[in-house]
Symmetry: C2
């Protein structure tokens, strides 16, 4: 029997990764597997330094089989970002449901939630800030957009705080951006504080410092 597998068989389903496999549930399952296992490797060794053979070993899938689910190595990096972004957006939606609180409480809640998220996704965030520039133009644009949405959400909280006189800052979006970056500092420069402060201390310092930056 002639093989039915030609490169031209690969489908481009909307804006997701192309795949030769027919069963969409299977594709979703394997994409998640590939993303999770690869993320660990990328974090440890970097994207460029991780080989397809290593990914094959980590996922338990043969190299040829991997290429039934992706079309190039870069697709795997996109998959990793996709999985992380999906999670972020899900937790964002939960936060959005609590809009009628007062700005101060909402702000603290946002900070605390973010700190928790940063802790959980420490490695993934580090990876994204290290290697997002390797993404294709479209995928990079999408990553930027998601970050922007998050910053704008925080800016809105600050804006309401200014209107009610509890916060004070020259520009809410600028302040939101700075706070956003301050939140991820632990991810990128953790070693600066290594051994100097306890986790609790660090969290406390961070929240106080951020607050002082926008308090009226």
């Amino acid at each position: 029997m002639k093989s039915s597998r030609k490169i031209t068989d690969k489908k481009k389903i909307n804006d997701t990764i192309s795949s030769r496999i027919k069963n969409p549930d299977l594709v979703k399952k394997k994409h998640l597997l590939i993303a999770k296992k690869s993320a660990k490797l990328f974090i440890k060794k970097g994207f460029a330094q991780t080989t397809m053979r290593e990914i094959s070993r980590a996922t338990g899938m043969a190299v040829g089989n991997l290429y039934d689910y992706i079309s190039k190595k870069e697709d795997i990096l996109s998959l990793v970002f996709e999985v992380y972004h999906r999670h972020v957006q899900e937790t964002m939606e939960i936060q959005d449901n609590e809009i009628d609180e007062n700005p101060m409480d909402q702000f603290r809640l946002f900070i605390q939630g973010s700190v928790k998220n940063v802790k959980i996704f420490h490695d993934e965030i580090h990876l994204m800030y290290r290697e997002s520039w390797l993404l294709s133009k479209e995928n990079l644009e999408r990553a930027k957009q998601i970050e922007l949405t998050q910053i704008e959400g925080l800016a809105k909280i600050i804006q309401r705080g200014i209107e009610q006189g509890v916060f004070k800052t020259q520009d809410p979006f600028f302040a939101a951006s700075m706070i956003f970056f301050q939140l991820i500092i632990l991810t990128m420069r953790g070693w600066t504080f290594q051994g100097k402060y306890s986790d609790k201390e660090l969290e406390n310092f961070l929240e106080t410092y951020i607050l002082q930056g926008i308090m009226a």
Copy 2:
């Protein structure tokens, strides 16, 4: 005549890069050339994605000749960092000569000087934050140490400001770290502000925001 070039000929002069070439001035000159040209390539394509052949073309040196001045590709990354660090330390020494100012002025001077430096070395800083983790243990340790020294310098200024009642913060070193990170964030996430603010506006916002974080 038998070639006198054996790998074992290479000298390890103290803690610098090993080289087969005898003339130290020539080594220094070529190391600088290699570092400057490679930095540009690394910034554009990343260290792992830049080939020795590209570095050869950019420097005008044959590949074999490059290896007369280094012993492995990673040495070139170290060279790039070395050149940048030397510059940073030089500008730091100038700033240290002005210790008897009042803390507020000194602080502003520090911030303005840093902003200027960040602007000049935008690409190099970006590169270092992206790829420092590829360095060998010793070189990474040295990079960390230099950053730490800078932070401690800022912390000392803040400390004096607290003693004189102009600044107020829970922990000077923590505050200094946060400020330091805020200063370089523009390098990494410049696109967040792209088209939103002018350069002058950005500088002004940044200084004001940082100041508010530690003002009494």
